[in-house]
Amino acid sequence: MEAHSVSPWVAVAYLIAGVCFILALRGLSSPATSRRGNRYGMLGMGIAVVTTLVTHEIASLPEILVAIAIGGGVGFVMARRIQMTAMPQLVAAFHSLVGLAAVLVAVAAFLNPEAFGILGADGNIMPVSRLEMALGVAIGAITFSGSVIAFAKLNGNMSGSPILLPARHVINLGTLGAILVLTALFAHSGAAGPGENPLFWIIVGLAFAIGFLLIIPIGGADMPVVVSMLNSYSGWAAAAMGFTLHNTAMIVTGALVGSSGAILSYIMCKAMNRSFLSVIAGGFGAEAGAGGGETQEQRPWKRGSAEDAAFLMKEAENVIIIPGYGMAVAQAQHVLREMADQLKKHGVGVKYAIHPVAGRMPGHMNVLLAEANVPYDEVFELEDINGEFAQCDVAFIIGANDVVNPAAKTDKTSPIYGMPVFDVDKAKTIFFIKRSMGGQGYAGVDNDVFYMDQTMMLLADAKKMVEDINKALAE
């Protein structure tokens, strides 16, 4: 009961922390206000932590400070050292930590409910709190194991291709159902003293398993949706623990983060014209790749050189650059910006066009271009720039494929049909950087753009090719 008899100012302090978090997200509406937003976030976190330290009975302060110093030091060094291309992995790793922290807190609350003020008069944990802690621990565990798999796939520790278990839908639905039933039983059952009910541990175990099972069948390029979804889960886990603790800051934050992740997942799915369920069901790419194999015929295509590209772009009035995941893999963002600088010196207008699902997480390409010092007002979203391809002299595609495939507009049988794509086929000239003619995009579909009259394929590593173009431009 300790936690509840404190002064109302404590509740106000947590509320202020919650408001700071809202302002942190609000700041991200434009790059100009974003850094102030981030400061609000830090302020809110500071208020929440200090309030808790001052008003709750805690372990000795030195112990807490050591724990914060260890964690904070590791986090800070990671944040400083990480390469921008590795941001998706880092975010996945961070999600897994939130998930695991939620599990630990829920287990601690289960073992020691008195400290959380959730012990009823009869010596049992209150039923509502049991429900909240079971949901919190389950969501936390799913977030943890799911994020570990997402991390391994993004980091290359594990193949990005889908791993399909037989009868996986039955197994997954069964496990999810079991978690829900056990949660209800746990909330209703009689024996619910501190640490008593074994159902709790079964829920934890099943939740770890389902997080793992849900993510293994999902392929690499669907990771933007997965990372967003896990982001959402980490929020819901925090909210559930906020219910247990009756803490406004945690509830507000959980709701913000939960909606944020959910909206990002929605945006990503829409940008691929696929339903959330079809992404979560997994297997995309594997099945399509197997089916599309037999209709391979040799079609004529033109190979261009770095000199061709340099010459034609120098003469152009405007160039639109379309970066994709391949640019991130090749680390070509810096040389690409040098190329744009050189073109600008020749009086060429340069713009960048970014598809919502380019890369491995929402906004991935924008960060990489920002890292390479590309001003953000030269970078455009799909719907803002798509009308300009008809007046564009050169479309320069680097490391993207499916997002420029006209089959999405014309071929009803294509697995990517209906996905919004760039109208590069309307540009006068297309340069398409690709490592070889063999590989196809993630969806495993052939791309008509390769064979168009105005297309020149630049077959090489993206970074190498752009460097060669830069040399040719400098001459």
């Binding site: 919650g18 904070g72 990671m78 922290a101 287990v107 601690a108 925090a238 983060v257 970014i354 906004g363």
Partner: protein
């Protein structure tokens, strides 16, 4: 606080989240994920309470462990967001 008032705060906060997040510019979606990740570590509040351990030594160590994990996220999340946001610049060269 009773359950219903907590639930009201939660539901209203979901609506706030919905409108605030839709106003985030797509160019900043990666920093958005990094910062939401940092703030969801407010779960550290629960970890600190757990570390009190008036009854259970296991609970105390779980709490301290959770404090370490959440701190990685808090410092790492805000620092990496700051680093990314510092890179977004407007056109200022001629």
């Amino acid at each position: 606080m009773d359950f219903v008032s907590i639930l009201s705060i939660f539901v209203l906060a979901c609506f706030v989240g919905y409108y605030v997040v839709w106003s985030v510019t797509p160019a900043l979606h990666t920093p958005l994920m990094a910062v939401t990740n940092a703030i969801s570590s407010v779960i550290v509040v629960g970890a600190l309470v757990a570390s009190a351990a008036s009854g259970s030594p296991v609970g105390k160590w779980l709490g301290l462990g959770a404090v370490v994990l959440a701190s990685v996220n808090i410092f790492g999340g805000f620092a990496v967001t700051e680093r990314m946001l510092a890179m977004y610049k407007k056109k200022d060269r001629k």
